[in-house]
């Protein structure tokens, strides 16, 4: 392992790094999207347990997804992706049916327009989550031909706050409302948050968001209250197929590696892990995923980077700039004195 670093790169003990001593092991979520059945029990369980308000009874028409994105009042979000490609060796049985071209391109365009007008989270405060594009139904350029569709698969995936090793939201929070818990998770305290919104732009995933009615920032706490009582988070508890698995992060990573190998062996060569790597732009996620396509298909950024990565060099540059400015000013005065 490379050198532990508070701003960027691998960090073996985020809780310890935050000052917790004698703390429990770091916990997290492993969301295995290959067994998600799209029941949305996680969304409901999350809202029930955390008493999150309803945030929009409107039809988005993005396949079966009417939540749209994570936001101040949607801490779990199940994405539905309809695609013209097979899942592993799965057969959608389209061969020899009198089918024409796919409709996904066209429906995606309609949905994109609808999403623009749909009120979501802090959108009207100008602090909407970073627009990563709604889950695209296909990789750009794929399946645009007018030929008859022959393949189909329907992907489902439950998204959540990543509880990053280096959390952009936490690092920029000026009030201390956001903090690193003894479990290594990241939690925002609503009684301290002053609604400045720095965290919203600090999050490389577009997760944390402000609620329009009170302006404060909200996101998944990984059910901090339940963890302290020795219970698993509500979403993982409710998941009927164990798509959402909760536990010590080290254990989850091993489990994910085994599952990935199993899927590759079963012919699902497109399976990949997302957020599992401690060497990525946020030092690895506390909530990571097994995906069946590239991350951007599900609406994940392909290469998220915590803003603090550049903090040192920014300060260095700022320092250099400040010195230069100082020197220049001094030169002006000195020069003036000579005159």
């Amino acid at each position: 392992m490379t050198q532990d670093n508070s701003f960027y790169g691998p960090l073996s003990d985020p809780a310890g790094n935050a000052g917790h001593t004698d703390h429990p092991p770091r916990v997290g979520f492993f969301t295995d999207t290959s067994v998600c059945i799209g029941c949305k029990a996680c969304e409901v369980a999350c809202k029930e347990w955390n008493a999150i308000p309803e945030d929009g009874i409107d039809l988005l028409g993005m396949s079966f997804d009417n939540t749209g994105m994570l936001g101040a009042s949607s801490w779990r979000h199940v994405a539905f992706v309809e695609q013209q490609r097979p899942l592993g060796r799965q057969d959608a049985g389209l061969a020899d049916l009198p089918v024409g071209p796919s409709s996904t391109q066209e429906t995606a365009e309609v949905v994109a327009d609808a999403l623009e007008v749909a009120k979501r989270g802090g959108g009207d405060l100008g602090t909407a989550p970073v627009d990563l594009g709604f889950p695209s139904f296909d990789l750009p350029g794929a399946g645009t031909g007018a030929e008859a569709r022959t393949e189909f698969r329907w992907l489902m995936s439950s998204d959540v706050c990543k509880h990053c090793t280096h959390a952009g939201c936490l690092d920029v929070c000026p009030t201390g409302a956001l903090f690193r818990t003894e479990f290594g998770t990241v939690v925002v305290q609503p009684d301290i948050c002053n609604g400045c919104g720095y965290c919203v732009s600090g999050c490389p995933y577009g997760v944390i968001d402000r609620r329009p009615d009170d302006g404060r920032a909200w996101k998944c706490t990984m059910c901090y209250d339940r963890l302290r009582d020795g219970m698993e988070p509500a979403c993982a508890k409710a998941c009927p197929t164990d798509s959402i698995q909760y536990g010590p992060l080290d254990e989850l990573r091993e489990r994910a590696d085994r599952r990935l190998a199993q899927l590759h062996e079963a012919g699902v060569t497109e399976a990949q892990l997302y957020g599992r790597d401690p060497d990525d732009g946020v030092g690895g996620d506390g909530a990571f995923f097994l995906l069946l396509d590239d991350p951007e298909v599900y609406g994940f950024p392909p290469d998220p980077v915590v803003p603090t990565r550049d903090l040192m060099s920014m300060w260095k540059h700022a320092g250099v700039a400040a010195s230069a400015l100082l020197a220049a000013s001094a030169a002006v005065f000195l020069g003036g004195a000579r005159r």
Binding site: G38, I57, S103, R149, T241
Partner: protein, 875 residues
């Protein structure tokens, strides 16, 4: 097939995912690609309502290629039995069986019997009216002389043996025919056949899952029969990993048939007495029969214990245990008949609705609402103010002027109900498992449990009638009604004790139905539940994990009968009592100990050896041989051929749905010749070939539920967390149909049938695909049906599109397939809607006789048929 398990039963689907993780292959055969298909190895798109054609093809494949599990079939099914010479098959009669009477649209089933079993001719009309086949429930109907030995041919070669009849009946269900009828390409169909047969036999088993996608058809009972035949032929019944899983539609719907809410059943599938039952003995002879095999032989003990439970000390041997107190049925008193009687007036004055919202949730919602608007009083108990309680002010008929609030005579009494966490009791789930739940919180306000409601109703009615000398009040006044109470509510566990049964001599609970007596010394509310309170312990409250007790979960809850997890598990061992294979062992005969043993409770008499032969003249349980694995059947065998007990034929036969875009390609007989049709001005049918103008409603329509909502929506449209997940009624169409009709994603469209038109947002998706059916392209459309005029999210009532036509065995409506038209834009509103739909009817030439000329084969005169139909009166 016929099940969207991942969406409708997501919690149960975890076991499918677990099986998949262990290497099981999952096939999903369904009209649309659903969240279940998303996890299936193979999705097969099928035209809705053609499942018998598909399964018939599978049966033909098995029989043509000799792929049946021959030892199992010979030993445990009725394949070797010879049929009567009078029997004629659909092969002989162009889609009809022998015994059809076109005037009553009913069968005299006497010619379907076994050769050595004399049957009296019996017109089918009354039997059809009271749903007699269903009354026999798990028991199956009589086979006179079953225990006396039935003529058979163990080589299965005799042309009249069941096996050969089966072969002949399904011989025309070829892969080509499956493709032409179902729209399933031949190669794909054969892939399913291959997988199913290769994964069955000694070493492997295949499970079949169905749900209301199979039951809600005019041939629904025969869909399930077809699945059963495949599973019996392949040896997949009574064995681990096999079986047919009937997923129920709600929590404890299984419980509501076990302890029934149906007009023709008493608890434990005992039939409701009818007008021919003069006394208890006549009734019991009708249930257990003479010379019948199996556990119905002890029906006297079950029935007397039930009567003793109802009427306590008042029930004595001298007064036939108050058998005369039971009402007698004399015709169809099912839901739809009753609703039509409500509309017609003069027969039904009051109505109780408990946990049901027919204004939205039942087929033909308009008929339901018009019926309810014509009552004196209506009692509604629900969690929220549902449409069935508020129809008098917000039904769609207000807008069209058909219901006028000021003139609606129905007085509605609304009672707020306690939810499942606010009361204790059991749920019986689809595996027949009773699971107890404790009360988590006290109900608030006036909310009370069902138990409280009915107990109080009984108490108050008895008070009101106290002192009455009128004979007709005796049944109520003599009701035992003696449960222990907790506060003003009966103790739910005491009620369960009474359901289990109590030995009156000791006052303790009985251990099972084998302890029940016919002499009045035991009471029992439901004989099949007997054992749930064995040893004075609430067995349904057990929660020992399978990790401690093994995969059969023997100490988690309690499963009827007698905690058996796999029914008919005697069939998991060969006739000699040895497991068919090490891999698939479940129960077996331990010769040393002289008993059946294994991983599950043996579904067989514990000490009856496999080679036991019943003595001549034996009947009931004693008459079961050591290899009669199907212990509830009259002959101890699994029925490939049903010699009696079905109103519409001894073998499943493909009939087109009542409303279909095409002619039956297999027979002259178009639809089920015995289906119950109701030609009334308020219940029109879309025409189907050979009637003209079916092209006015060119598309196949099917409806189902979404995970995010629950049936009629009372439990989900009122809740923000669920309403926001599926916020609006929509109609799913394929890109091809969207192009044909000019429909655009998220725009409005309306769906039209001869009943009404409903608005919905369009969802264009690749998950819907058209089919090529007999050379033409057939489009299918799908809608969820959860919406109504109240709640956080509102919408038109999809069930208003559906008319009433019913399966003749169980009277379930055909709501899973009909025909429709789809048009862009919104429907007309108010009285203009009525005119719009009337115009459709005019264009399609629809009259009250449309769809009622149900005999289309066999040279029968095409004659309109209306239920209930009387035989021609001799003049």
């Amino acid at each position: 097939m016929g099940s969207n398990m991942a969406e409708a039963h997501p919690v149960g689907f975890q076991w499918v995912m677990e099986a998949k993780a262990r290497g099981a292959k999952v096939f999903h055969i369904d009209p649309r690609f659903t969240r279940t298909s998303a996890h299936a190895d193979q999705h097969v798109t099928i035209r809705a309502g053609t499942d018998i054609a598909f399964l018939g093809g599978v049966i033909n494949h098995i029989l043509t290629h000799d792929l049946d599990f021959r030892e199992y079939v010979t030993a445990y099914t009725n394949a070797p039995y010879l049929l009567s010479e009078r029997y004629q098959d659909t092969e002989d009669l162009d889609g009809l069986f022998s015994g059809y009477d076109p005037y009553t649209a009913a069968y005299d089933a006497s010619s379907w019997s076994y050769a050595s079993v004399p049957m009296e001719e019996q017109p089918g009309r009354l039997l059809k009216e009271v749903s007699a086949p269903y009354q026999h429930g798990a028991g199956g109907p009589f086979i006179e002389g079953a225990a006396g030995g039935i003529e058979s041919d163990p080589t299965l070669e005799h042309p009249r043996c069941v096996f050969q009849v089966l072969k002949r009946h399904f011989s025309r269900y070829t892969p080509e025919m499956v493709e032409r009828i179902c729209g399933v390409p031949q190669e794909l169909f054969q892939e399913v056949c291959r997988a199913w047969t290769e994964n069955s036999g000694r070493e492997r088993t295949t499970a079949l899952v169905y749900s209301v996608g199979w039951t809600q058809h005019s041939v629904g009972a025969q869909f399930i029969r077809a699945g059963s035949i495949v599973q019996l032929l392949l040896g997949n019944i009574g064995r681990p990993g096999g079986g047919i899983f009937a997923l129920r539609g709600h929590a404890s719907i299984q419980g509501s048939t076990d302890v029934p809410t149906l007009f023709n059943l008493l608890p434990g599938y005992l039939p409701m007495p009818d007008v021919t039952h003069e006394d208890l003995t006549t009734y019991l002879d009708g249930v257990r029969g003479r010379g019948q095999k199996g556990f119905w032989g002890a029906a006297d003990a079950y029935m007397v214990s039930l009567l003793k439970e109802y009427w306590g000390d008042a029930a004595t041997a001298e007064n036939d245990y108050c058998f005369d107190y039971l009402p007698r049925i004399n015709g169809d008193h099912g839901t739809y008949r009753t609703v039509m009687d409500m509309v017609d007036g003069g027969k039904v004055f009051g109505y109780f609705l408990l946990g049901q919202n027919p204004a939205v949730g039942s087929a033909h919602g308009r008929l339901q609402r018009l019926g309810m608007a014509n009552l004196d009083w209506l009692v509604v108990r629900d969690l929220a103010m549902i449409e069935s309680a508020t129809f008098w002010k917000d039904a769609p008929e207000i807008e069209t002027g058909e219901i006028v609030t000021e003139r609606c005579r129905t007085e509605v009494f609304f009672f707020p109900a306690a939810s499942h966490v606010e009361k204790a009791g059991t749920f019986t789930q689809t595996q027949r498992m009773l699971q107890w739940r404790d009360k988590a919180v006290e109900p608030s306000g006036d909310q009370r449990s069902e138990l409280w409601f009915f107990h109080q109703l009984g108490v108050r009615l008895k008070e009101r009638l106290a002192g009455s000398a009128d004979e007709r009040d005796r049944p109520l006044l003599d009701l035992a009604w003696d449960y222990e109470t907790e506060g003003d509510e009966p103790s739910p566990s005491d009620v369960l004790r009474h359901i289990n049964g109590i030995d009156l001599r000791t006052g303790r609970t009985v251990d099972g139905y084998l302890d029940l007596k016919a002499d009045g010394s035991t009471v029992c509310g439901c004989w099949i539940y007997s054992g749930v309170y064995a040893n004075e312990t609430n067995q349904s409250r057990r929660r020992t994990s399978r990790f401690e007790t093994g995969p059969y979960d023997a100490e988690w809850g309690w499963t009827w009968p007698l905690n058996r997890r796999v029914l008919y598990n005697r069939a998991s061992a060969d006739p000699q009592g040895r497991p068919w294979s090490e891999r698939k062992k479940l129960v077996w005969w331990d010769a040393e100990a002289g008993e059946w043993t294994g991983r599950d409770t043996p579904d067989f008499e514990k000490h009856k050896p496999p080679d036991y032969k019943a003595p001549a003249g034996a009947s009931g349980i004693e008459a079961l041989d050591g290899d009669d694995a199907f212990i509830m059947m009259r002959d101890g065998k699994g029925w490939l051929f049903a010699p009696a007990g079905l109103a519409d034929g001894p073998l499943p036969t493909h009939y087109e749905p009542h409303e279909s875009p095409m002619r039956n390609l297999l027979y002259g007989q178009q639809g089920n010749p015995v289906r119950k049709v109701y030609g009334r001005p308020d219940n029109p049918s879309n025409p189907a070939p050979p009637e003209a103008h079916s092209e006015v409603f060119p598309y196949v329509f099917t409806a189902a539920r979404l995970t995010e909502h629950h049936t009629a929506g009372a439990m989900s449209r009122q809740l923000p967390y669920l309403a926001e997940l599926q916020p609006e009624l929509f109609v799913e169409v394929s890109p091809e149909l969207a192009a044909e009709r000019g429909l655009r994603h998220l725009d409005w469209a309306h769906v039209v049938t001869s009943r009404t038109a409903v608005d919905a947002r369009v969802v264009v998706t690749d998950r819907m695909a058209p089919l090529r059916v007999d050379g033409r392209v057939v489009h299918q459309v799908w809608m969820p049906y959860h919406w109504g005029p109240t709640g956080l999210t509102k919408g038109d009532v999809v069930n208003d599109l559906i008319g009433v036509v019913a399966d003749p065995n169980v009277f379930i409506q055909e709501s899973k397939v009909l025909t429709c038209d789809v048009r862009p834009g919104r429907r007309p509103r108010g009285p203009a809607l009525l005119e719009y739909v009337a115009d459709y009817r005019r264009r399609a030439g629809i009259t009250t006789e449309t769809g009622t000329r149900i005999a289309t084969a066999g040279g029968h005169i095409e004659r309109a048929h209306i239920e209930p139909d009387r035989p021609e009166e001799p003049s």
